[in-house]
């Protein structure tokens, strides 16, 4: 390890790092702007300047040269000065020059109080504004409903375009103009197209890009009450920090987890949690009266009604893959194992259980995100990851750069030399093969984009698996055969191959063959990774809890042998075809629904219990990689709202169930579940229990600068109510306690002296960019499995289109395919109504064009037409999860007719379409 000297003190450094990150890892304050741990160095801002001396004599005489910390590798014997007057003076003048055009509008800036520019300005000691000239001003752009633009605050560090273009693969944000007119924005105003644009809020070191929903409902960071949470937007399980004030969820920030989401979130995760503030939230328990409307009742009364209904009756329970393991477990105990449905529709039930089974039985490793980013050859079967498991797609954009890093390593170029590595590699990427039912949002970085019907994707997978194991493949359709050789050759040559598939294309064979490919690679001795996506935040946990033999919704409806139906956080109308739901609900005399938001299922209930949202309750969720993670209430639920587990536990006790007798705390449920469900035995390791104390005290949810607590309710009463007491976790709803050195799963916010922005994170990491000092949050429940012996399986049958029929394939959108995020402010503006994607030649035959309506199967659904030539021939895509599409089943063959009397809606346009429209209009 190289030893270097900084201001006379010797330090042992890790080789291969740059001086800036090494200094930060040592806890030394070296200011910076353009460098980012996930994006490497370009040396653009000149802020991390230090003085380097060649010899001891130079150091004594002060004869050194200014170098940039981020561009300087640590080499043995190097001598630096951080604190010398020259280095400090230089850094101060850099901030002064960067600030020439800065408006100093901190009091009205949403970044104020967590601004890296503020921190750095204070750190370098730049205090007096000398410049008296005119400042440049800019016009701001409308960048959509999620991100606010205020260009005047820019210090031209270029982090935004480096993140947006280089890291996230966006194409519609550019550095425009030159010298002191540089402008970061779009060619024309419009919604930013990248699904990861929201990270600009955290990447920008000042207030150019800010969270628009926060700006419009503002609270400073120091006034936010926060707790460690887990995103419920998809199954990736990104760690988040939601912040609350006045009982409203104000914003979501990234919570670093080296193995799950690193530094970044997708926009569904960042902006899709606002449904917590939705007006449709249920306030109090409601009992349906004779007129069909609901009478509000208090929680004692509601519990009595529920217990009376359940007592002695045949009760069935429908759990939910968006509810926690604990709530589902209690419901399962309440109704009995045989009467508990995990709440999947039939297809989902089969596919999610298959995803679990395949991973448990695979010799391949289920990778965490760092392993995904290390993959050098990737095969995706049937997934549009950017819209189904978005954070993984962002990780894959880094995986394909491994080719560049290999080229750099050959030249002994450090991987953090970002500009040099990119320049060297140009457009060289590690191979990524995507076979999907239409084009995907990763198409731009894929070596081959193959469009096939789901059955043929499975055939392609099977052929690749056969080719890898050296079996002769059968005769294949030409559209498949042409790709097998390239894919299997690349995979065989890979050091760290990664196979990705999942439930989203609705076809079990696709997932099965993906596992076969991974197995074939394992058999040939390769370290192989296999990722299978599942739909929701706790889908995998539900499969672990209930297993494949539990009843799906369809099976429950068919059995129909019960009086009472208890539905936990599950809008059945959103999940299953309407006739099936109607049949299911009709079988029960009493329907009891626990949920947070009003929906069609709650409207069918005889008793509704308002459940706390993810932000108001604790819970364990199992992510797609089988990681059990705990989320904590950010704030106490208002009024009569209770966490679902509290409702269910109280009801179990009311009924005198022996299974609930020893359960008092949330932790008791977790422990009980771990003891009784083999697959979930590890969940107690997801986080410390409520007895945990950090150096003898609790961990505060509020920063020590939290202000106005006594004044917050003064308009109602000057008597300040007692703060809620959290008896279920080591966190407290106060400022008192210690937010330092705790386990990684208990980090409610990051702050360190002098570091008010999210850049303070490095003070909580073992080294810059490394895992949290307190350990990585969560507990993996899936280890590498043992492959079951199985003979060669039959090749799945090919897709044969029927004349006059099309096969339905689900197509996903980051905004709109997920139920709850679509109800969030901002995100709702970007969601579209349900639609059908159809090839132009098919549209021509049906005499419809873009914006017309199509009838599916004579009235199954009527949806708007979008022309998409990338859809596999013989298939039509539909907007999965969107309004009007719940009756559609993937894989179903349907007929199409032009909808008569359809009223065209003006389509919502994204920016590039709009410029197209303007462009073609002027032709």
């Amino acid at each position: 390890m190289p030893t270097i000297r900084i201001d006379g003190v010797e330090y042992e450094m890790e080789a291969g790092k740059n001086l800036l990150e090494s200094c930060l890892s040592l806890g030394l304050d070296l200011p910076y702007f353009c460098w980012h741990p996930a994006m490497g160095s370009v040396g653009a801002c000149r802020q991390c300047a230090v003085v380097q001396y060649l010899t001891d004599e130079d150091e004594q005489s002060g004869r050194g040269r200014i170098v940039m910390g981020c561009m300087t590798p640590v080499t043995d014997g190097a001598i630096f000065s951080l604190d010398g007057d020259r280095a400090k003076g230089f850094r101060e003048s850099v901030v002064e020059s960067l600030m020439l055009n800065h408006p100093h509008d901190c009091p009205v800036c949403a970044e104020g109080g967590e601004c890296h520019l503020q921190d750095m300005t204070v750190m370098v000691g730049h205090r007096d504004r000398v410049y008296r000239g005119q400042k440049n001003t800019h016009r701001n752009q409308y960048l959509g409903p999620l991100i606010n633009h205020e260009m005047n605050r820019c210090i031209t560090c270029y982090r935004c375009t480096r993140y947006y273009k280089d890291y996230a693969g966006g194409t519609d944000l550019a550095a425009l103009a030159s010298h002191d007119h540089v402008y970061f924005g779009r060619h024309q105003e419009g919604v930013l197209e990248s699904e990861f644009a929201g990270n600009l809020v955290e990447v920008c070191p000042t207030g150019v890009f800010t969270d628009k929903t926060l700006v419009n409902d503002y609270t400073r960071k120091w006034d936010l009450q926060s707790a460690p949470s887990v995103c419920t937007g998809c199954a990736v399980g990104c760690n988040t920090v939601p912040g609350e004030r006045y009982g409203r969820l104000k914003r979501v920030h990234n919570r670093f987890n080296a193995e799950v989401n690193g530094y970044f979130l997708c926009d569904r995760g960042r902006f899709g949690a606002n449904f917590v503030n939705n007006d449709e939230r249920l306030e109090s328990p409601g009992l349906r009266n004779q007129t069909g409307s609901y009478d509000p009742v208090d929680h004692h009364h509601a519990l009595q009604v529920m217990a009376e209904a359940c007592s002695g009756a045949r009760v069935a329970g429908i759990g939910s893959p968006r509810a926690s393991v604990e709530a589902n477990y209690l419901l399962r105990n309440l109704v009995g194992e045989d009467n508990f449905s995990p709440g999947f529709n039939d297809r989902e039930h089969k596919l999610v259980n298959l995803a679990l089974e395949l991973q448990q039985a695979s010799s391949a490793v289920t990778p965490d995100i760092r392993s995904i980013e290390s993959a050098d050859v990737i095969l995706i079967l049937g997934e549009d990851l950017t819209n189904t498991a978005p954070r993984l797609a962002l990780a894959l954009r880094q995986s394909v750069r491994n080719k560049a890093f290999e080229m750099a390593a050959d030249l002994r170029l450090e991987s953090w030399q970002d500009a040099a590595v990119r320049n060297l590699a140009q457009d060289q990427l590690s191979p990524l093969f995507i076979a999907a039912t239409g084009s995907t949002r990763l198409a731009d970085v894929a070596e081959e984009n193959i469009t096939l019907a789901p059955q043929n994707i499975a055939r392609l997978g099977a052929a690749v698996a056969a080719s890898i194991s050296g079996h002769a493949g059968e005769d294949l359709e030409p559209e498949i055969a042409g790709h097998v050789e390239a894919i299997s050759t690349a995979l065989r040559a890979a050091k760290r191959p990664l196979i990705i598939s999942g439930t989203s294309c609705g076809n079990a064979e696709v997932m099965q063959t993906a596992a076969d490919v991974a197995e074939a690679l394992c058999q040939s001795g390769q370290q192989t990774m296999l990722t299978l996506t599942v739909p929701e935040a706790n889908s995998l946990g539900q499969a672990m809890l209930a297993g494949p033999d539990s009843p799906s919704l369809g099976k429950l409806a068919a059995d129909g042998n019960f009086d009472v139906l208890v539905i936990l956080e599950n809008d059945l109308y959103h999940r299953a075809p309407e006739p099936e739901v109607e049949r299911l609900l009709a079988t029960a005399d009493t329907v009891i629904v626990l949920d947070g938001l009003d929906n069609r299922t709650t409207s069918a209930a005889s008793l509704v219990l308002p459940a706390a949202s993810f932000a108001e309750t604790e819970g364990t969720l199992v992510s797609l990689e089988g990681r059990a993670q705990r989320h904590y209430p950010v704030f106490a639920p208002k009024g009569e709202r209770r966490p679902a587990w509290v409702w269910l536990l109280a009801c179990s006790k009311e009924l005198g169930l022996s299974t609930a007798a020893d359960l008092h705390h949330f932790d008791d449920i977790t422990r009980d579940c771990a003891a009784n469900i083999a697959d979930l035995a590890g969940i107690t390791g997801a986080a410390p229990d409520h007895h945990f104390r950090n150096a003898g005290v609790k961990i505060p949810r509020q920063p020590h600068r939290y202000s106005g607590r006594t004044a917050m309710r003064a308009d109602i009463s000057v008597h300040e109510p007692k703060q809620p007491v959290d008896e279920e976790s080591p966190l407290a709803f106060t400022m008192e306690g210690l937010n330092r050195s705790q386990p990684g799963s208990l980090l409610p916010f990051v702050w360190a002296p002098g570091w008010n922005s999210n850049q303070s994170l490095h003070r909580f990491q073992s080294e810059v960019g490394g895992p949290l000092r307190g350990g990585t949050a969560g507990m993996r429940l899936l280890g590498p499995g043992q492959a079951k012996e199985s003979g060669p399986r039959e090749n799945p049958p090919a897709f044969s289109p029927t004349q006059g029929q099309w096969q339905l394939v689900p197509r996903y959108r980051i905004f709109g395919s997920e139920e709850l995020s679509a109800l969030s402010l901002g995100v709702a503006e970007l969601c579209e109504d349900g639609y059908i994607e159809i090839r132009a030649d098919d549209a021509l035959g049906l005499e419809v064009g873009e914006g017309d309506g199509l009838n599916l199967n004579d009235g199954l659904a009527t949806l708007e037409v979008k022309i998409n030539n990338s859809i596999a021939a013989g298939c039509i895509g539909y907007a999965a999860g969107h309004s009007g599409t719940a009756n559609l089943t993937p894989g179903e063959n349907i007929s199409l007719q032009k909808a008569q009397g359809w009223k065209r809606r003006r389509p919502q346009l994204i920016g590039s379409d709009r410029s197209t429209e303007i462009g073609s209009g002027n032709d």
Binding site: A174, S178, R186, H187, I867, T916, G919
Partner: protein, 167 residues
């Protein structure tokens, strides 16, 4: 962007322009490497690069309009707004400044009635400053259209601008 859309966009360019751009593309390994040349070609034909032209070039080079605009706006001799028939590039760099370019600019403004960055009402001239024309030994200098004019004085300016007005 769909194929049809990008074809629509590209149709904003003339055959002549497309041929010239394609000739440049033949010399380079990446299409987007000819971005600057393509902008210059279109500007040579049309005098400036409109938003429509820019989107068309971007589509033809398989890049986003945003990316290309980043390049177009970086260079001050790519005009993203309409200019007059001829652009007057008056050098204001050190040699020309010492030799009194400020007075010359004053004189031009009086003669044509335009400040820096403005176009005459008859659309003949646009007056722009430029940082160097590489003719410091003959300062002060300016370019009018494609012609370089050296050793300027107030009289010669009148002559040049008056002279240029006659066809």
């Amino acid at each position: 962007m769909s194929e049809a859309n990008s074809m629509n966009l590209i149709s904003a360019l003339s055959q002549e322009e497309l041929q010239a751009i394609d000739a440049e593309i033949a010399h380079v390994p990446y299409r987007d490497a000819v971005a600057i040349d393509a902008l210059k070609i279109v500007q040579a034909h049309r005098g400036w690069v409109s938003d429509e032209s820019l989107s068309a070039i971007a589509a033809h080079l398989h890049m986003s309009a945003d990316e290309l605009d980043g390049i177009a706006t970086f260079y001050n001799l790519i005009y993203r707004r309409p200019v007059g028939d001829k652009v007057i590039l008056l050098c204001n760099s050190i040699s020309c400044w010492i030799k009194g370019c400020d007075n010359l600019q004053q004189r031009i403004t009086e003669e044509l009635g335009v400040e820096l960055g403005e176009t005459t009402s008859d659309n003949r001239y646009t007056l722009l400053p430029v940082t160097c024309l590489g003719a410091c030994d003959k300062a002060p200098v300016m370019m009018v259209g494609d012609e370089l004019h050296e050793d300027l004085c107030e009289e010669s300016i009148i002559r040049i601008l008056g002279g240029s007005t006659t066809p």
